[in-house]
């Protein structure tokens, strides 16, 4: 089929659409008024649930940390160090989440297709960096319950060995996860499952699209 044949065939659609495609003026007017606003509002509401959950968790961490410091004794040392680390890592996660929402809501669809799609893909891929940082808190969940009052002085060697083994395993796991949190691993099932909760499927699609975009941009 020749080029002009394709174009002429496509044009037959235009002629038909002109006849059969009607605009529902009432609905269109609704979009320019209340409906458009409420669509935006419900998107913001959805994001606000995430923000509130994060804030409640951070407040809880802040409260227990404050309580531990206000009633300080050396027995609290493990707890204070662990919860401080968990709080700092979650604060970083929270600021990433807010930054992500602000960037996403500021994307203007008015721009050139390649520029806008690149911004979208980068935002989707930033999820990998976000979950990479969040992994760093894992080892601290194995130490916060220890107390200088009884550890290691009051426990047997077996307990110490077990504790070191568990914490060591978590440190190694964290190091491994941190090192392997990269877009190249999106082809691996374990990685997709790991980030599935943070939108792993859309991240997988984003990387595929990002590669398509890279080759599309290249001059041939």
């Amino acid at each position: 089929m020749e080029n002009m044949d394709l174009i002429n065939l496509w044009k037959t659609q235009d002629a038909k659409l002109e006849k059969v495609l009607l605009i529902n003026q009432m609905l269109l007017k609704e979009v320019t008024g209340q409906k458009a606003k409420s669509t935006l509002k419900s998107m913001i509401r959805f994001k606000i649930v995430g923000i509130i959950t994060f804030v409640v968790y951070l407040l809880f961490l802040g409260f227990v940390l404050y309580y531990a410091i206000a009633n300080y004794s050396s027995a609290w040392n493990y707890f204070i160090v662990s919860v401080t680390a968990i709080t700092i890592i979650n604060l970083r996660g929270f600021t990433d989440y807010i930054r992500h929402i602000v960037l996403a809501s500021n994307i203007n669809y008015n721009g050139r297709v390649m520029e806008i799609q690149q911004q979208f893909s980068k935002l989707q891929l930033s999820i990998i960096d976000h979950s990479k940082v969040m992994c760093l808190q894992f080892p601290f969940f194995t130490t916060f319950y220890l107390s200088s009052a009884w550890f290691p002085s009051q426990v047997g060697t077996a307990y110490i060995v077990l504790q070191v083994a568990i914490t060591g395993a978590f440190v190694f796991l964290t190091y491994w996860l941190y090192k392997n949190h990269k877009p190249e691993n999106l082809s691996k099932k374990w990685f997709r499952n790991l980030i599935a909760g943070s939108g792993g499927k859309s991240v997988a699609r984003a990387i595929e699209f990002y590669n398509h975009m890279k080759s599309f941009k290249e001059e041939e």
Binding site: L6, I7, L21, N24, T32, N110
Partner: protein, 170 residues
């Protein structure tokens, strides 16, 4: 300009360019319900961007940019987002009859199917080419150089013709 004037102008612009919105939505969403959601999302984004519309661009260029950006982003989103958060009960664009219904196996239907088989960005380029946009205009919409537009179109046309022929032979 009062907000009432602005609304009236916007409605007229949409009326004149309804075909673009439909063709883009139809190329990225084969499912009628999803297509209805996509049309609504395109119109919402067009309305929000209308206040900052740059009159140095033609209305059609502006509509193509926003429609393609919304459609490509919508297409990539997860299936759980099949319905947008606050869908309207009916569609903004309604067909009194399906323009390809009487020829489901006809060439236009096959061409639509062949276009749907292309990758997202190739599909966008082909829609603009088939609507006879100049290379300069396509370059402004897509954000790639005119020479790149020319070579890409040459390559994609070969793939499109191959897809079309395969569909016709089935």
């Amino acid at each position: 300009m009062t907000s009432l004037d602005q609304t009236e102008i916007f409605l007229a612009v949409i009326q004149q360019n309804k075909g673009i919105i439909y063709k883009v939505a139809n190329s990225y969403c084969q499912h009628p319900e999803e297509r209805q959601d996509l049309v609504q999302e395109i119109v919402v984004q067009l309305w929000q961007a209308f206040k900052t519309y740059n009159s140095s661009f033609k209305h059609s260029t502006w509509i193509y940019r926003i429609s393609l950006n919304v459609a490509i982003s919508f297409y990539r989103k997860e299936k759980r987002r099949r319905h947008i958060s606050n869908p309207l009960p009916e569609g903004i664009l309604a067909l009194t009859e399906n323009p390809v219904a009487e020829e489901r196996e006809g060439d236009l239907y096959l061409l639509q199917q062949a276009i749907a088989q292309l990758k997202e960005l190739d599909r966008a380029l082909m829609l603009l080419y088939l609507d006879e946009k100049s290379y300069m205009e396509i370059s402004q919409i897509m954000g790639i150089s005119e020479s790149n537009v020319a070579t890409k179109i040459g390559r994609i046309k070969i793939v499109l013709r191959k897809n079309f022929t395969q569909l016709k032979e089935r």
